[in-house]
Amino acid sequence: MNQKHPSQEELMEQIQKILEERGRKALDMARKTVLDEEIECKEVREALKYFMTEYWHDVARPALLSLVCEAVGGDPDITTPIAIPLMLISGAIDIHDDIIDQSKIKGSRPTVLGKFGKDIALLVGDALLFKGFTLLHEAAEKGIPAEKVAVIIAIIKNTFFELGDAEALELQFRGRIDITPEEYLRVVRKKAADVEAHTRISAILGDGSKKEIEALGEYGRLLGMIIILRDDWIDIVDFEEIAHRIKRECLPLPLLYALQSPKTNSKLSSILFKKTITERDAKIILEVTDEAGGLRHVEQLMQEIARNARSFVKDLKKNRLGLQLLTEFCARLIPFSIREDVNADPIDLTINVSS
């Protein structure tokens, strides 16, 4: 039977559709749960409402839970009682990260920090963390066996501590141009613990085998790394972001690669230590980084990680292609490279989209 294969753009659209379809229900339920909470203080109430309804559109995490659970033969709906608390906990971490990084705007939207200030942002983060854990307590009543809840909580705890450690290590990188890419990548791997937690938890919920759980855990870790590296790549081409990274955070990986060359280092260090980074400075940084091969190096690294990530899901019963495409979607800066897989198994994707 002749079947028309979708174009790259169509595939990307389909991935977005999958994320939306699979993540929307949990996102809406999370929103309702938080907004139903009785909060007397108007400012906290408004900040929570802003975060949950205008700022936070995270369908990717719950969708990933759903896809992975189904991939090991589980019912994706069983992930919802866990997806909601996980979203709230991730949201809490995100808000507190913004306080540390002093990120007042993300994308085109003000963060909770940017709109309501440090004090309210801190309280809102705490409230979401608290609510998330309260909902985990209730997950047992919603059909998740107590022993699984205990394992899930242990994973969340380890992840949280790993992320905290990564954040603290990253603080030591602030304002430094002598960080090696290897040092930075160690922190990137730690920061990717969040996505690994999601895939691991979901494989457990779906009763995956030990081998599947481990493979999907590593897949998540690598997927998380790709997402972080993609942000690093994007940050260096965006004036506002690169200025913020230089002043408030760790330098992005393409720049760290470029700084390894003494010649580039001497060209860039005077700009990087300037009090204010102008748009022209940002342009020079981008050009010099590109000339030194920093961007290409990161693209190649992302390709390599994506290839590695795909290998961990190649033996899955279902959703193999969906997860591979998700990897590709996150690493969309790199050339589209799994057309062969699409040709080999087009029906798999159709099933995913409609299920």
Binding site: I39, E43, V44, D126, A127, L129, F161, G164, A168, L169
Partner: protein
Amino acid sequence: MKTKEKLIEQVQRLLEERSQKSLETAKKEILQEKRECKEINDAFMYYVRNWNDVVHPGLISIACEAVGGSADKAIPIQVVMLLLTAALDIHDDIIDESKTKYGKPTVFARFGKDIALLVGDAFLMKALVLLHKLEKQISTEKMDAIWDIINSRFFELGDAEAFEASLKGNIDSSPEECFQILKMKASTFEAHMRIGAIVGGGEQDIVDLLANYGRALGILISIREDFIDVFEPDELKNRVRNECLPLPILYAFKNPQTKKIILDYLSKREISDKDAERIVDIIFEEENVEMLRNEVKRLAEEAYNNISGIPNKSLVSRMKILIKGIVEDL
């Protein structure tokens, strides 16, 4: 003076005896997590070295025993609540920009906002994880009640913090507004008593009475701290900049003339020991502060009444000592 010292010593001993085991366990629990970053490890060590919260675990133990439960039974929940209280305390210091507490630099002052935020988060996470683990030891019914209390009191405390943050640096805040914040903040004391009584197996009516005692006690402790802050120039300066003014000052402000005199002192770049002494003298002479003292007396009475029906009379007398120790020299 000698009698007063004895009373405070008694209170301290009463709480220490009931807190030592849980405090040691809580310290071990938080330090056992492995971390690569030296600075954050140092921050944890620093907090743990200076961590001597005997009040919160002490209250849980007292409430548990008051309803006939064994104090040892309360240790695991004491550990959870210690960690939780520490988390909120560390985060509160960031909001209030508190540099010192009990004469020592806070984590915020010593390690900065970012590390303090991460340390507070870690305490919060550890507390919530250990609370989940208690589900194996405590009945589902009791656990549901405990989660409910912690959740609602937590949100009440958050509300209080936010309310307080909105009044930061506002010298025209009314004493009534700040008293309301103080009442809301006392929700943690109520929660500790309530949880202790539930773990001990108390009936609902006695649980409620003990909770009321806890709320009154919490308010009294805060009022006491507000009086103490008036004596401490550094703390007073911080309160002017970053928090609500201490209640005795706000009550004194009801008299416009007194308000003007005190504001002259508070607006100075530095408040000297002599200035603080003068403020104290003015406050203690101000008739409006008497209203606050009357409220203290009323709350103490309310606390006594709440525990009068508890059969363990020896414990009741110690609970009364606790209140007396707090209000004695106000």
